[in-house]
Symmetry: C2
Subunit: 514 residues, 2 copies
């Protein structure tokens, strides 16, 4: 496929690439050769207006037809073959195997929603009329669901496929019956264009209004602002930093009509090592946590950034389990190879954040991973005590990348106090043995209110795509804690209930007819 560098506006490739932007090769930090067009205000406006026009027909498609469209997108993504893998690898620095896995997940997600549409799983609630009821007859009422309208989606830097152009937000919005205006991430624009080509091919094969999908390229904030404040946009999906997410939220707050904002903004994913686990599985849990941390250079939203352990101060006798754990983690982390970050900018941010954390009073740098080339980053493991953590707000913030902070608590009370201090997280894990059950139960009761997913004796990295998944949680994990961005429930973000009262069969959606 030829990469045009242009925007896809309702089936048309448009825009001027001459003064456009370039992505960077994540390995070399060199600018890549293709230039991409910054979308203009007119292009964004056209994309949204055409999406709104397409909504009239697309929202009326029977579920089976939408399912066919989703599957065809998946087929067309697969048909991109190695070019997609190579392009994504170059733009993100992620290894081919990871991108292949992510492609599989992306296609599976489309299939999951197709299955859901075909199974008619979102069943209607039907309360028939009762004309004899006293004092008033009961009318016939039936609860159905309508798609919201045009959805604006912002691609994530760290999942160039599964949370980007045809990722979870796009798949669930299209499944719900909503057209999508996609803002590509400037770190992987060529990957975005390839996937957009696949979507366009699917649109043509399935004979769907081309307004149903547009791809907006651009590096300028004004494009994002235009999308989130446009009156015809009815919901926003976003995965990114808390800083950018809150800028978008503030802009959305200016809208006369409030719309849902599904923002996934950050998570430190605390890992609790309970006393018996610490005593019995010391080496294994230390190594397991390091292994989870360094996956993909820690650039997962579920990367374990905070480890909470009970131990006494250095040099005290009862300290041996804690010190053995620290030693094992230190040794394991020190052996981890350096790696590339998703972008040169993220590499710099990571190194700056690690340097800043080193300088925090009361925080000890336990180990750095192996160093690599100049443009590589190294893992970093820090430790502190509860009092320092409690009194140092910057330690509560996410440090994006493969760095973790171990917090030593004097006792279980401090572990609970730390839990109270937490803001929202996507996940937390309790690592425990049977002998820890009572403490784990007490902890779980409080910790559950801080997370979207509570895990026992497993690492937080890796998100299962299934009906019982919840990928969300209290702010800042999500700006809409009643929703999930992964799993079949994600479709509900883009639909809303409607009650039909006393309607003749002919005016009811098929799913509500009796």
């Amino acid at each position: 496929m030829t990469i045009t560098g242009k925007n896809l506006i309702a089936g048309q490739w448009t825009g001027e690439t001459t003064n456009g932007f370039t992505a960077f090769d994540a390995q070399s930090h060199q600018a890549m050769s293709t230039t991409f067009a910054d979308a203009t205000e007119i292009e964004v406006n056209t994309a949204i207006n055409r999406a709104n026009e397409a909504f009239a027909s697309y929202s009326q498609l029977i579920p089976e037809k939408r399912a066919q469209f989703l599957r065809t997108i998946g087929d067309q993504i697969n048909a991109l073959g190695d070019e997609l893998i190579e392009t994504a690898c170059a733009e993100t620095g992620l290894p081919a195997m990871r991108i292949q896995g992510e492609r599989g997940r992306t296609v599976n997600q489309l299939g999951l929603f197709a299955n859901l549409l075909e199974s008619g799983e979102y069943q209607a609630v039907i309360d028939l009329a009762d004309n004899d009821r006293q004092p008033l007859p009961k009318p016939d009422t039936r609860l159905g669901y309508l798609p919201l309208g045009v959805v604006g989606v912002f691609a994530a830097s760290n999942f160039p496929l599964a949370f980007s152009t045809a990722g979870g937000d796009t798949a669930s919005a299209l499944a719900a019956g909503c057209p999508v205006v996609m803002k590509a991430h400037a770190a992987h624009p060529a990957t975005a264009e390839l996937v957009a080509q696949a979507i366009l091919a699917a649109i043509e094969i399935c004979d769907i209004d081309k307004g149903v999908f547009s791809l907006i390229q651009g590096k300028k904030y004004t494009v994002a602002s235009q999308i989130v404040t446009h009156p015809k946009v009815k919901a926003i999906g976003f995965t990114g930093s808390e800083r950018v997410g809150m800028i978008l939220q503030a802009q959305m707050n200016q809208r006369p009509e409030p719309i849902p904002f599904y923002g996934e903004l950050g998570s430190i994913n605390p890992q609790y090592v309970m006393p018996e686990k610490l005593a019995q599985d010391t080496q294994a849990i230390a190594q397991g946590l390091v292994g989870s941390l360094v996956m993909g250079q820690g650039q997962f939203c579920t990367s374990p950034g905070l480890w909470v352990v009970i131990g006494s101060e250095k040099g005290k006798e009862s300290n041996s389990n804690y010190q053995t754990f620290i030693d094992a983690a230190t040794q394991s982390l020190g052996e981890q190879t350096a790696g590339v970050m998703l972008t040169p900018a993220m590499c710099k941010s990571y190194n700056d954040a690690v340097a800043a954390r080193k300088a925090v009073a009361g925080v000890e740098l336990l180990a750095m991973g192996l160093s690599g080339r100049e443009q590589d980053c190294s893992a970093a493991l820090f430790a502190t005590d509860f009092a320092t953590y409690e009194n140092t707000p910057e330690l509560h913030e996410e440090l994006f990348g493969f760095s973790a902070l171990i917090v030593r608590c004097d006792d279980f009370d401090q572990m609970m106090k730390l839990t109270e201090l937490l803001t929202g997280n996507l996940t937390a894990s309790i690592h425990a043995l049977d002998a820890d059950l009572d403490l784990s139960a007490t902890l779980a009761q409080t910790l559950a209110h801080k997370v979207g997913r509570l895990i026992y004796n497993q690492m937080p990295t890796g998100v299962e795509v299934c009906a019982s998944m919840n990928h969300g949680g209290p702010f800042p994990a999500s700006t809409a804690l009643r929703t999930t961005s992964v799993g079949s429930e994600a479709i509900k973000r883009f639909q809303r209930p409607i009650c039909y009262q006393n309607m003749p069969q002919a005016l009811l959606p098929k799913a509500l007819q009796t």
Copy 2:
């Protein structure tokens, strides 16, 4: 019962009533004798902090225990007997039969949620582990629901029982496991206190932490502001005007942590009279609409404020059906008795709004209802044409009370154009015969996206409380269009999903154990 005029702060009646405010007798417009304490900042803070403390135990109560609490509240409300009816009638001017009906609905709502809790209807989604799955084992994941935390509820002026102290928001929040801090409406503080006494009695009977419910009295905006911006408040339920709702929304937008705002802000509930219906049932539909309009002086959120009819200009031959309809509506409206509004302030607002509408160019006052005493208001019926409606934004706004605007469209195209102009509504009705089916189908497709409930050949007033009800809709009908404030789904507003991964049975909520 003695009315103390005080706030109920976690079981304590507190506050200084000497410089407090009074409610007005809706019939006489005279200030009533009891003075009520404006809650202080400290009282509000105590209420919220105690609610947050109570959350720890209340959120852990088994569903059956919460169900028992809800039913006991209902019993205690019934036990208030005639005093509640008389007090509410005096404060609101609503007739005893209406208040009795509303009490029944309030108690039934509590029972509906109790039934829901006992039936375990919100079933878990459980995906068992599959250790043999390739390339990675599938973990055990189970989807459950957690209550959000402290809920702030603002009582409605127009439903002193069913949308107030123990109304739908309170019932669904308590059912969900959330403590409630209730801001009473200053128009019916004594009614609020009586119901709060009933809730306190239920708390004592069921031995629940008294922090689970507080009643805040007050007329000052600062109290509302303090509730919606308090960091320990995790959701807001509000029923009131768009103006006040948007003030609260703007304050909530300043929160570091966004929380859900369930605001029901206004609705004009358009009524479409289709051509055959107009031709065949001319008198009946005109009288039916007038009857729905004047119920409770039009002070229902579902009052039919806009009637859309196809007719040609006055004096043209094909105009006869339309003119007959207008004549019938005019005659019927003119016979309607005057009545009291909920408060003197609302009486003045209504009269001012009617006077303002009279003065709009292109709008004709067809009829006023009978006049009454000085403090009574009269129904009012206006008519205009599509062009005037299209070009006059103030005609698109809700006029709260028993006034409707008939918009004459030249043809079905104009009827559809008008539909496109609508903002969100709680309801709309299509009044039609079989011969109107094709037009009705076309209309319904567009109209569905403007309403929370779409009705066929029934009036919008009267909201069924059942599982298939949706009382919400696009803004300004609701600030959260994916939710309903009436019916069993209302409980979901105060819960959020959580995924438990690989948890031992002992750490799972009972509903998720296998």
